[in-house]
Amino acid sequence: MSEGRGAVRVDAYLIPVVDGVAYGLLLAIAAAGLTVAFGAGGVLNLAHGTLIAAGGYIAAATSSGTWPSLAAAVALAAIAGAAGGGVLAAATAGLRGRGHLDQALLTFGVALIGGDLLTTVYGPDTLRPRLPATLEGTVEAAGHRYPVDRLAVLVIAVLVVAAGYVVLHRTRAGRLIRATVDDRAMVAGIGVNPRLVDAAVLMCAGALAGLAGALSTPILGVGPGTADTALLLSLIIVVCGGLGSVPGALAAALAVGVVQTLGVTSFPQLAPYLLVGAMTVVLLVRRRSLPGQAAA
């Protein structure tokens, strides 16, 4: 009896936490592209959400419930994303040294146009790709069901984040990216063409965005609202995590995930405020020790 209640109490937190982690990792993938573009590459890319949506639509149109089609969907989405990133790189190349606001204006414009095109091509409906049956199912865990597709995403997310960490924080490429944001001229001064760095950064970011779209669509579906939601969440995660820091972004993503699961169910009446409130608190308390924020 009492034991039973104890069990209930454990589950009451266990499952939401597990779910929070999974959801958080899903968001981490969504934010990964922005971490690279904005956090590390210094391009405030407001078209990020649209790239995710594009990836989602492509996946939804390609994946027909078989494994090969799923693989094809993911690949296509990533490629399309990279292409989009390339377009953005070309578009923003002329804007170097004109500050973030002009980038914001441009990328937001691109986002609006892209969004309109997407709805014209794929229609205003919410789409969801068919997955192989195994992924559609659920597994039993501690007397609870858990969707397989989320577990799959969980695994992939861990891989992506690990890779991202290594690249940004452990390789020369990562250092070049950060250096380019700090002082382009001096990067050129060591024999690297900063424009190449920019292009590479935006294309990787785009590919990540497309991938994120492909991975999140089966769970959340993709529709006209997808781009905005994805962009907002990604921004929150990237900035709260501290620009350009993969571990930071990961932590932020998990936090958001847990807030969005455990938080909203534990304090239903506060639910609307929780996310933004949490972000505000994080930003207020965190020391401003971000590169580029350093006092001159």
Partner: protein, 353 residues
């Protein structure tokens, strides 16, 4: 001696040139309103009038973004404060314009002042994201606080404002337009005057190099707070105009979308120019509400096109247009050779997202 005299003249000329263009812009604006008001088309009047609240919001954003150097999405908070205060007053039977505008301005200033105490300590991206938080919270609060805001559906059928107790309410489209234009112009002119001359120099110094300003005894935080609060008052007045021209309001009107439009309008206008910001806002709304109705369902497309075009065709914004027609002023440091700049961190440190 004579050298100094010559310099004095030169200075006088440049400053006049700077502020001069602003006044010209304001004059043009006034003229434009006049022309619109003269036309017989009620639809035109209503449309024009509906643009002015956002224009005023954009002005207030330009004050914070362009002059204080703090890119903000948070001015919708004082805007909302002004709007809902006005709406509540009107619904409670208080209908004098003067009362509305005053209370709205105060409400906006107070809220902006309170927010400023917290926000002003941050810069760049962090400030922007905090202000985004403010915008979101504003909309959420407006949706949740039903007894004041009427919930997500908002308030409709708000009684029209009266210029003075005796006079009839302002319902005729042309009258509303003229009234709104007058208020907007006065507010902008006030802001321009307050931010002119030495204060302008002071703020651009603070933007350029805070550490130096502090070391010369300037109360940087106090300056920025004052600007933020003043901008709040302008936004509050904008909110009052929103009610006076629309006579309805929903949380969406004081949410992120509005904030984003205002900020982008400011960028289009050229961050530091207040008339530019207003013009930018009007351009944005003209595309979304006037041009787009001929292409139903593709307003986003047109808006996007406008933004992209603005970036490429108007580097430095609408106001830089007039500047480029003038003889070249001493050029800025070309960014490929930043060796003249302050601390090594500077190229990124101060650049605003």
């Amino acid at each position: 001696m004579s050298r100094q005299a010559g310099r004095g003249v030169a200075e006088a000329l440049t400053t006049w040139h700077r502020s001069g263009s602003t006044w010209v812009a304001l004059g043009v604006a006034a003229a434009a309103v006049g022309v619109v008001a003269l036309s017989a088309d009620a639809y035109l009047h209503a449309t024009a009038a509906r643009m002015l609240p956002l224009a005023l919001l954009a002005v207030s954003v330009a004050v914070v973004t362009g002059h204080a150097g703090l890119p903000t999405l948070g001015q919708v908070a004082p805007y909302a404060a002004g709007a809902y205060t006005t709406a509540r007053l009107a619904l409670a039977g208080v209908e004098q314009a003067a009362v509305h505008l005053l209370t709205a301005a105060v409400a906006g200033a107070v809220l902006a002042g309170l927010l400023g105490v917290v926000l002003i300590r941050y810069r760049g991206t962090v400030f922007l994201m905090l202000s985004l938080g403010v915008a979101e919270l504003t909309a959420i609060t407006a949706a949740q606080w039903r007894q004041v805001s009427g919930g997500t559906d908002g308030l409709a059928g708000i009684p029209a404002v009266r210029l003075a107790p005796g006079l009839p309410p302002l319902v005729a489209d042309r009258a509303v337009l003229l009234y709104a234009a007058a208020v907007a112009l006065c507010a902008t002119v006030g802001a321009v005057i307050l931010l002119g001359g030495e204060r302008r120099m002071l703020l651009s110094a603070v933007r350029g190099n805070e550490a130096r300003a502090r070391a010369s005894g300037h109360r940087v935080t106090a300056y920025l707070w004052a600007v933020h609060t003043g901008a709040g008052a302008i936004a509050g007045i904008g909110g009052a105009l929103l009610i006076h021209t629309h006579r309805w309001i929903t949380p969406a009107d004081v949410g992120f979308a509005t904030a984003a439009l205002a900020l982008l309008a400011v960028v289009i206008g050229g961050a530091a120019s207040l008339p530019g910001a207003a013009a930018g806002a009007i351009a944005v709304l003209a595309v979304r509400d006037v041009i787009a109705v001929w292409l139903p369902g593709h307003a986003p497309l047109l808006l996007g096109a406008l933004f992209v075009a603005a970036v490429y065709l108007l580097p430095g914004g609408l106001t830089a247009l007039s500047a480029r027609l003038r003889p070249p002023t001493p050029s800025r440091r070309p960014n490929h050779v930043a060796h003249a700049s302050g601390s090594p961190a500077r190229p990124t440190a101060r650049s605003t997202p």
